[in-house]
């Protein structure tokens, strides 16, 4: 197992270098001169030249990449030329919001998707299964902005159970924080449970055809033990994969949901950086989010090994 982890960790190095290269090229390959962007169209050529020298923009691209990477490795991701905040400060303020949203959304999506998938697989072809498969297919085609607006309409405007938009930090008032988080998390969960349910259902149905399930029945085991102990674990590899991808994606912020519900998360930081052409923030956030995604995939790989001993022992 230790060898397995070490080997997977080594794979991370080239991937992270590739992520940093791609991220850096965003800022460098975008049309327009960064100095002009900062100084505005009233800038004199002398001012521009001076700023370019200050920022090292007159250096060759590989040199700029290496000095940026050197800074990153020492924890210096740069500083916004608009707000003066460092990238780490900006991300540090907003990351907890996005992570909380992501966790709640995953809990919701798994909480809806997994039990439904198990019930459907156990009674595949039955009327409940057909109804749920159809519903999941329908839900898959509902865009998040629509379900967000509908949820706001019902729960905030009509029933007045929950606030429509806004945010209170968890540390300040946990109860209020959760009240603000319910609708955005539910919006994301509604978008994600159908895919969770569909992959787990079809994997489970395939697993239930296996000889070892027939043997488990022939051993006289209870139906619940067959489903949860014998069938669920070997069926959950794809489930783990898509959950990992969902988590990785949401670390980068849920742009639409954060915008609709006015949550100060990574997604809105990113949008703001794009709209104001704050390239240092953009580049830093994309790099951190990319790294988060890569590390999430690493965790998924480890989970495979936990779920399937054949992967752990290098047989598959």
């Amino acid at each position: 197992m230790a060898f397995f982890v070490a080997r997977r960790l080594l794979y991370l190095v080239p991937v992270l270098i590739a992520v940093s290269l791609l991220t850096f090229s965003i800022a460098s390959l975008l049309p327009g001169d960064l100095a002009y962007t900062i100084l505005g169209d009233q800038a004199t050529p002398e001012n521009v030249a001076a700023l370019r020298r200050d920022m090292g923009l007159d250096q060759p691209i590989w040199w700029r990449y290496l000095s940026w990477l050197g800074g990153v490795l020492q924890g210096d991701f740069g500083r916004s030329f608009r707000t003066g905040q460092t990238v780490l400060q900006a991300v540090g303020e907003r990351l907890p919001v996005s992570i909380e949203l992501m966790l709640l959304a995953q809990l919701g999506a798994l909480g809806i998707g997994v039990p439904l998938a198990i019930i459907c697989a156990a009674r595949s072809g039955g009327s409940f299964d057909r109804f749920m498969t159809g519903t999941a297919f329908g839900m898959l085609s509902v865009p998040t902005f629509l379900s967000a607006i509908l949820l706001i309409y019902f729960f905030a405007v009509e029933l007045r159970w929950l606030p429509a938009t806004g945010y209170v930090p968890f540390a300040e008032d946990p109860a209020a924080n959760l009240r603000f988080m319910v609708l955005p998390a539910l919006t994301l969960a509604l978008a994600e449970w159908p895919s969770i349910m569909r992959v787990l259902r079809s994997d489970m149905i395939a697993t239930l055809q296996e000889d070892y399930i027939a043997l488990a029945k022939a051993k006289g085991l209870k139906a619940s033990r067959i489903l949860f102990v014998h069938a669920l674990k070997p069926s959950s590899l794809t489930l783990v994969t898509i959950t990992g991808i969902n988590i990785g994606r949401l670390i980068g912020g849920a742009v639409i949901v954060e915008t609709v519900f006015a949550l100060p998360g990574i997604g809105r930081l990113l949008i703001g950086a794009i709209l104001t052409r704050d390239l240092i923030i953009l580049q830093g956030v994309v790099l951190l989010v990319g790294a988060g995604f890569v590390i999430m995939n690493f965790i998924v790989d480890l989970l495979y090994a936990v779920l399937d001993p054949r992967i752990r022992h290098g047989h598959a």
């Binding site: 072809g125 296996e210 000889d211 070892y212 027939a214 043997l215 488990a216 029945k217 022939a218 051993k219 006289g220 085991l221 209870k222 033990r225 102990v229 014998h230 674990k233 070997p234 779920l307 399937d308 001993p309 054949r310 022992h313 047989h315």
Partner: protein, 331 residues
């Protein structure tokens, strides 16, 4: 017939709906197994022998339709509540499947798979169940049984896995063990070991056994009675010595002739049974073996021979033109 037998299969028919129409996998089969006795069920692939075993275990696919009666230990398995059936399976009715590569759960340890069976049926605490598991693994000839409990199926060879599957089947001292092609997926050198193990444990535990196989060589000398199946029907049924001394059904003869022989001269062509079994979705009017039978006459195509007893009541066969004077082959 039901009197003192442990298992009696009475007029069992299994129909499977398929896209090509209804498939009659098992066609009016009658069989009995007495306590402690061994029955061999022989036939080529697709003759319905596995479906018959699944019918006895009540493990048929959901869409399959089963008619007839399966009496086991004075209980009608078809009428048993799911809960009573569950308590019976693994406890007094156990099974070993064909392929030990797929019949053990790849993500659970050998120990878990043994202990869960023990704890489901016998009231054992963890320590007692573990002790019993070690004894069982040792009994089926697995070296270092304590270490095996923590291992996963993929860490064991095919023969070892089949021994684990047998240990699981034997764990609760069943009254009947159904071994469905227990050696087909194994190396030839392992086959005899596994069959001997099954025979030894059967004698020791006084349990009844059904060995399902396509290999007449497997049942010879290891069974009390043999039923030969073809196209879903039992076509010949006799005490094992009688069958090998005087087989009456041409199919049985052809099946035996198709066994490769050690004493044959090199490059002797194997007398394979030409043709294929009939399409089970299109039942034949006459004898289902007639199209491949070298003794077939017009009557065989038109009329279905019934399974009837001949000189002794124990030896039954379904043929209008049984083989008369063939001396038994020495297998």
């Amino acid at each position: 017939m039901t009197g003192n037998s442990l298992l009696s299969v009475e007029d069992v028919t299994v129909n499977l709906p398929t896209p090509r129409g209804n498939l009659r996998a098992v066609d009016h089969v009658d069989l009995t197994v007495g306590a402690g006795r061994t029955l061999g069920v022989v036939g080529e692939s697709g003759c319905g022998k596995t479906m018959l075993s699944r019918a006895i275990l009540q493990l048929l696919p959901k869409k399959a339709k089963l008619s007839g009666r399966v009496m086991f230990d004075r209980q009608d398995l078809l009428r048993l509540s799911p809960e009573k059936l569950r308590k019976l399976r693994g406890r007094s009715l156990a099974v070993v499947f064909q392929d030990p590569m797929t019949s053990l759960n790849p993500v659970l340890t050998i120990g878990t798979q043994l202990i869960e069976t023990l704890q489901e049926h016998l009231e054992l605490d963890d320590a007692a169940a573990t002790r019993r598991s070690v004894e069982l693994l040792a009994a089926v000839g697995i070296p270092a049984p304590e270490q095996r409990l923590a291992q996963y199926p993929h860490q064991l060879s095919g023969g070892m896995r089949q021994r684990v599957a047998i240990a699981i089947a034997l764990s609760c001292e069943p009254k009947l063990l159904i071994a469905d092609e227990p050696t087909t997926a194994l190396d030839v050198t392992i086959q005899a070991q596994i069959l001997d193990l099954l025979a030894r444990e059967q004698r020791r535990r006084h349990m009844a056994m059904i060995i399902i196989t396509h290999d007449l060589g497997v049942v010879a000398g290891r069974t009390d009675e043999v039923a030969v199946m073809y196209a879903g029907r039992v076509v010949e049924r006799a005490p094992t010595p009688d069958l090998f001394k005087k087989m009456r059904m041409p199919y049985t003869e052809a099946l035996l002739a198709a066994l490769p022989r050690l004493d044959a001269a090199p490059h002797t062509p194997l007398p394979a049974i030409s043709g294929r079994p009939p399409d089970p979705t299109r039942p034949l009017r006459g004898c289902s073996f007639a199209p491949r039978c070298r003794y077939a006459v017009a009557r065989c195509q038109a009329e279905k021979p019934a399974l009837e007893a001949a000189e002794t009541s124990a030896h039954q066969f379904a043929c209008f033109h049984p083989i008369e004077a063939h001396a038994g082959a020495d297998v």
